[in-house]
Symmetry: C2
């Protein structure tokens, strides 16, 4: 049971977590922080939080659980603001999509990363942004990856785990670097491909017509291109190495496939498509 | 009203069209042809067709509407088989995803492409294959593009249009070459990107783990990679030029984006992501 929960950043993830924990009866008071006063106001109005503050340092005072749910590019600034103010014994966690960069940010803010800081990442993206998209069911059956460090206290990890389990998620642990590689492949790369496809088509002369004839497959394929650009710019910068590796592998294979199409190499093409279908049916079936 | 409809190829498109026209009362007898006797048997069993035949030439005799719904790579063989047997006055149309190649196939089979041949393309893909996926609602509100040639009779075009309207679709016309360019961009390219992404991940050492952490966005993004590999190999070969053009544009832009990520060019990245989100929200909103 969390007595006072402080959520910094009331986007769809922060807001959804507040909703989920409240409806599970897993927390007492919820204090919300956001730099946008309108979002804060709406969050109180919608009953997502009990109390609002635009000052993160003030808001964390007295909280026993602090969740930082801002874009990864804003982590350092938030950690710096709250570092002197977090109560002794309070657990701090985050929801950033990249973990090495968040650990670096924590190191920069605290110098010695506190034993009660637990890096975390709920894999529950949505292309919707803002407090209006807060959904108490968002984490039901979803995975949350925690990436504790050498100094992280087990009791802190357990408290964060309990919080996510109360929100309906399944919690696993992974090493920071490994997390960033896996997510580059399964999340960051697809997002960049979708953004790049839509942008390529949007730059075509006949863009109106092109989008007019786009069918259901295209809608599904490009849904993630409606995600928040600032959040994804931050992710690109924060997880640069693993993303560039994943992009390079993808591009090498795509060039091979293009070559095979150009040469009319039926066997090569069919082998790739069959292998892909088999893998997708097996894993996502 | 179609008196006798002959559908050659009882995959999800052919089967869905039969179902849609029957439930709209827009056709009398439905004769189905497929090279797979089991599919044919199931089609009769499920009530999708009235009568089956494995011999296309026999099946088209007496039909006033013939719909060829086989993968584009099989069009020439089917056209050759039915060319001597189609009744005078019968209208022949197809559902191929690429139109220049289908016109070439018709030219090869008939020498002079008949005035009653109307190339067509329902944009209603599904990643599901076979007669079991036949769904009478598949074409509701979907677009069908007809690409009549210089010699195509207007009365033939109108009969095909009426058929698709009865099936629930919205029918437009386009030139063959333009159709192939538009579809390369909105359909063929996304399919190849999805196939290539899944295949790239499936070849990674940690593939089990990678797919395990793939979230909802990944599922949506890769749904089209579960499409029929033979059909898509055929499309790659049949629409080679426009597909390679679309792939080249995409790859050039992706390389630029990768470069910007490598250089930490925040502005370039944000511009691309913002432009993409704006285009997707506007067109697919």
């Amino acid at each position: 049971m969390i007595k006072r929960l402080c959520i910094i950043g009331l986007g769809s993830i922060g807001g959804s977590l507040a909703r989920a924990l409240r409806s599970a009866g897993a927390c007492g008071e919820v204090v919300g922080v956001d730099r946008d006063p309108e979002q804060l106001h709406r969050a109180v109005e919608l009953g997502v939080i009990d109390r609002q503050d635009t000052d993160a340092a003030k808001a964390v005072a007295g909280a026993d659980m602090v969740v930082v749910a801002v874009p990864v590019g804003a982590m350092t600034a938030v950690f710096r603001a709250i570092a002197p103010a977090v109560s002794a014994g309070a657990v701090v966690t985050d929801v950033g999509s990249t973990k090495a960069s968040v650990v670096m940010a924590a190191n920069e803010a605290w110098r010695n990363i506190p034993e009660n800081f637990v890096p975390g990442h709920p894999i529950a993206g949505t292309e919707k942004s803002g407090i209006e998209a807060a959904n108490g069911e968002l984490f039901q059956g979803r995975r949350v990856i925690l990436t504790p460090l050498a100094q992280t206290r087990r009791t802190a990890v357990e408290r964060v785990r309990e919080m996510w389990v109360a929100a309906g998620a399944e919690v696993t642990e992974m090493e920071v670097v490994h997390h960033d590689e896996v997510l580059a492949a399964t999340s960051h790369l697809p997002h960049l491909l979708a953004f790049n496809l839509v942008d390529t088509l949007a730059n075509a002369e006949e863009q109106e017509e092109i989008f007019q004839y786009a069918a259901g497959g295209f809608r599904d394929f490009t849904r993630i291109a409606s995600s928040d650009p600032v959040m994804w710019r931050d992710i690109c910068l924060a997880n640069r190495g693993p993303i560039l590796d994943a992009l390079a592998k993808f591009s090498t294979n795509l060039a091979e496939l293009a070559k095979a199409i150009g040469q009319g190499d039926e066997e090569y093409i069919l082998t790739v498509l069959r292998r892909a279908k088999a893998a997708r049916d097996r894993f996502c079936g």
